[in-house]
């Protein structure tokens, strides 16, 4: 589904990603861990198409297409979803009209007719029940006045609505209490199937108690320096990143 080959990228002239290689297949969950400043969020930004990151080497192939040549909205329509680390507030824009615009754009891309108001509201209700989020959230403006936890739950709800192929969750677990964390994790577990894939970026292994990854990658200094199964996360939790750093520097 996704193939990243020797990806290098910089922000304001500073090289952040220094040669990333990663392959994600349908049905897989990949966790990307690593200390602060290692390039985790930059990787997510490149995949979503943020223009402040400049790719200066390598390629990213998604569903057989060169992702780097495609606009952010087109990537989203193709099935890339980014769960934001800091979801953005859009005052005055109701969740209903925001989501309806987004869902219908994606349906258009998939050659489906737009949903009528009543069908849309029904669809939205189903997804809300699936994700178990508060009905109140969708009656408000996009993220406006939401608590940190509500914002993250709202990201998962949007993911459920848009049914993406590849979801990248950028530190969705940060700032969540244990109940919110479970809602996020349960959401992923319910939506997971053999056709979609997840890249879960996280600092802590805590989230990985609930979302069981097939692979854990450690990103350090702009490179993936270690890849293993879920046991790697536990080891990192116990021993921190120092041993990785040491290993890498040698």
């Amino acid at each position: 589904m996704l193939k990243i080959k020797n990806l290098k990228a910089q922000i304001n002239g500073k090289q952040i990603l220094k040669g990333i290689n990663l392959e994600v297949n349908a049905g897989e969950i990949h966790a990307i861990m690593g200390p602060n400043g290692s390039g985790k969020s930059t990787l997510a930004a490149v995949l979503a198409g943020r223009d402040y990151v400049e790719v200066n080497h390598g390629e990213v192939i998604f569903m057989g297409k060169n992702l780097l040549e495609i606009s952010p909205e087109e990537r989203a329509r193709m099935g890339i979803f980014l769960g934001f680390q800091y979801p953005v507030e859009i005052p005055g824009v109701s969740m209903v009209s925001f989501m309806r615009t987004a869902v219908n754009e994606i349906r258009k891309y998939r050659n489906l007719s737009p949903l009528s108001s009543s069908d849309f509201l029904k669809y939205m209700r189903e997804k809300k029940e699936l994700i178990e989020i508060d009905t109140q959230l969708t009656n408000r403006s996009v993220n406006e006045g939401f608590s940190g936890g509500e914002k993250k739950k709202n990201e998962i709800f949007q993911m459920a609505m848009l049914e993406p192929k590849l979801s990248i969750l950028d530190e969705t677990d940060s700032g969540l209490d244990i109940d919110a964390l479970k809602i996020v994790a349960n959401g992923v577990n319910k939506l997971k199937n053999s056709d979609n894939a997840y890249v879960v970026i996280t600092h802590y292994q805590r989230l990985l108690d609930y979302i069981i990854p097939d692979f854990v990658h450690v990103l350090y200094d702009g490179k993936i320096v270690k890849t293993a199964g879920k046991e790697l996360a536990l080891e990192l939790e116990k021993n921190g990143y120092d041993w990785i750093k040491k290993e890498y520097q040698n």
């Binding site: 009209s97 925001f98 754009e105």
Partner: protein, 480 residues
């Protein structure tokens, strides 16, 4: 293309009302003098008091200078190069629809304002004005059964001269300002509304102003009187053809609310704004003022301003009656080379008077958008309250947003609050929408509409959707 470029290219907008109607028009020669005014008064078969008033205004105007305090760059206007009266040729005061020229009917159909009552939005009565004359006022009879007078100004001057005599110029005297004096001398039509005591007007009243003829100025005059314990909601809409030369529109609107009466006045202003290079467009120099004359009355102005090359307009409230309330809700959107200097005045005279101002400016392209507002609390206005919120949003790095608040308080017990924000449209917000599959153009439309939501919610329901579309269209660009 990055989103900065898209924002910078945010210039192409399609003005879908830019067509011209080919119809024979009766016009006066260019220029303004006492003879023109006499001729105008004569053609309208006005009583003598009206002619005398016009002449006084004209003489006063001749000694006035155009105001230059606004944050506007207004090219010199040659007032002798304007046609002051243009009327589609048709049978004088058509009695039925069949007597109205089909071309005129077609024009208003195209503008979405059918003149046939059965085709209209239910619950909306319309006075359709083209150039200098009113073409048709719908639902007149239905309203008359309740004692409501809704007719063209010309008709009111003849048929209801006592009311006109009493109230015309009572809120905006011709000495008020340059454009008000000019309007008083040459106004040709407009709408007149009288709501009798205790009547709640059952429909939205609305006037649709259309400029069609070339080189013509439109000078309309609207007078709305809400008698004791009455209520009326009134809406005006405006469009004009696309022409390379600028056209002048100088209107005066006066509202009078008596004891316990409420007037809600909404405007969706979409005059031709000029092209991308700033060529052509309407100069919209308008004086709108209402007086809450007696206790417990209320006047509420809502405006959505997207059109005109230059806008100079300050719908205001004089809060004379104790416990009276004034409100001003405004969205002003400027794009390309448009300029707007708009806001309000809230004059607190009576005790316990309250006013609320919510202004949202949106500037794009190379446009300049200014909010100018006066809150004046007089000596005897005990416990007067004002709340002002004034937000500006910038969509490009070449446009300007300016705020000029004036607050004058002569009473110790008064409270005036002022909040202001200026923000650049968020790249993060746009990207967030992009990431959900929404194009940048649609994202800007969503964000701007969200920003203006509080104002759009004030509009009568039938028009809120229209206004929302209008904001979106005014921001449309060529980026595909």
């Amino acid at each position: 293309m990055n989103s900065e470029d898209i924002l910078n290219n945010f210039t192409q907008s399609d003005y879908k009302y830019g067509f011209t109607t080919n119809i024979e028009t009766e016009t006066f020669p260019k220029g303004l003098n006492e003879d023109i005014i006499r001729k105008l008064s004569q053609i309208k078969e006005e009583p003598d008091f009206m002619l005398q008033w016009r002449l006084e205004a004209f003489r006063y105007w001749q000694n006035m200078k155009m105001p230059n305090w606004a944050h506007l760059n207004i090219p010199p206007i040659d007032y002798q190069d304007i046609i002051y009266y243009a009327a589609p040729k048709q049978k004088k005061s058509p009695q039925s629809l069949d007597e109205i020229d089909p071309e005129l009917k077609k024009t208003f159909d195209k503008l979405g304002i059918p003149l046939e009552e059965q085709k209209q939005l239910s619950g909306v009565a319309v006075d359709a004005v083209m150039d200098s004359v009113s073409i048709k006022t719908t639902f007149k009879e239905t309203l008359a059964n309740l004692g409501i007078i809704f007719c063209s100004m010309s008709e009111a001057i003849k048929e209801h001269s006592d009311l006109v005599k009493k109230y015309l110029g009572s809120v905006v005297p011709y000495t008020d300002n340059f454009f008000a004096a000019l309007n008083s001398a040459v106004f040709s039509d407009g709408s007149f509304v009288y709501i009798p005591k205790g009547i709640r007007c059952p429909m939205e009243l609305s006037t649709y102003f259309r400029i069609n003829a070339k080189n013509t100025g439109q000078f309309e005059r609207t007078l709305i009187i809400a008698d004791e314990d009455s209520y009326v909601s009134y809406l005006e809409g405006c469009t004009a053809p696309m022409r390379d030369e600028n056209q002048l529109h100088a209107a005066v609107v006066e509202l009078i609310a008596l004891r316990n009466a409420e007037i809600k006045y909404s405007t969706v202003q979409n005059w031709y704004p000029g092209d991308k290079q700033g060529k052509g467009g309407i100069y919209n120099f308008v004086t709108k003022r209402g007086i809450c004359k007696e206790e417990n009355s209320k006047i509420s102005w809502t405006q959505v301003e997207t059109g005109s090359a230059i806008t100079w307009k300050y719908p205001s409230c004089i809060l004379k009656g104790d416990n009276s309330i004034g409100e001003f809700y405004s969205v002003a959107l400027t794009n390309h080379y448009q300029q707007a200097d708009t806001g309000t005045k809230m004059i607190h005279i009576g005790k316990n008077t309250r006013s609320r101002i919510v202004s949202k400016g949106i500037s794009a392209g190379q446009s300049q958008n200014s909010y100018r507002g006066l809150v004046k609390i007089m000596k005897n206005a005990d416990n007067a309250r004002n709340f002002t919120q004034c937000d500006s949003m910038l969509l490009s790095d070449r446009c300007g947003a300016h705020t000029f608040p004036y607050i004058e308080i002569d009473n110790q017990t008064a409270i005036a609050e002022h909040e202001a924000t200026t923000s650049r449209i968020g790249e993060d917000q746009i990207f967030y929408c992009n990431q959900r599959g929404i194009s940048t153009e649609d994202a800007i439309g969503l964000i701007v509409n969200g920003y203006a939501r509080e104002i759009l919610n004030q509009l009568p329901m039938e028009f809120a959707v229209e206004a929302q579309k209008l904001l979106q269209i005014s921001l449309e660009n060529s980026v595909g």
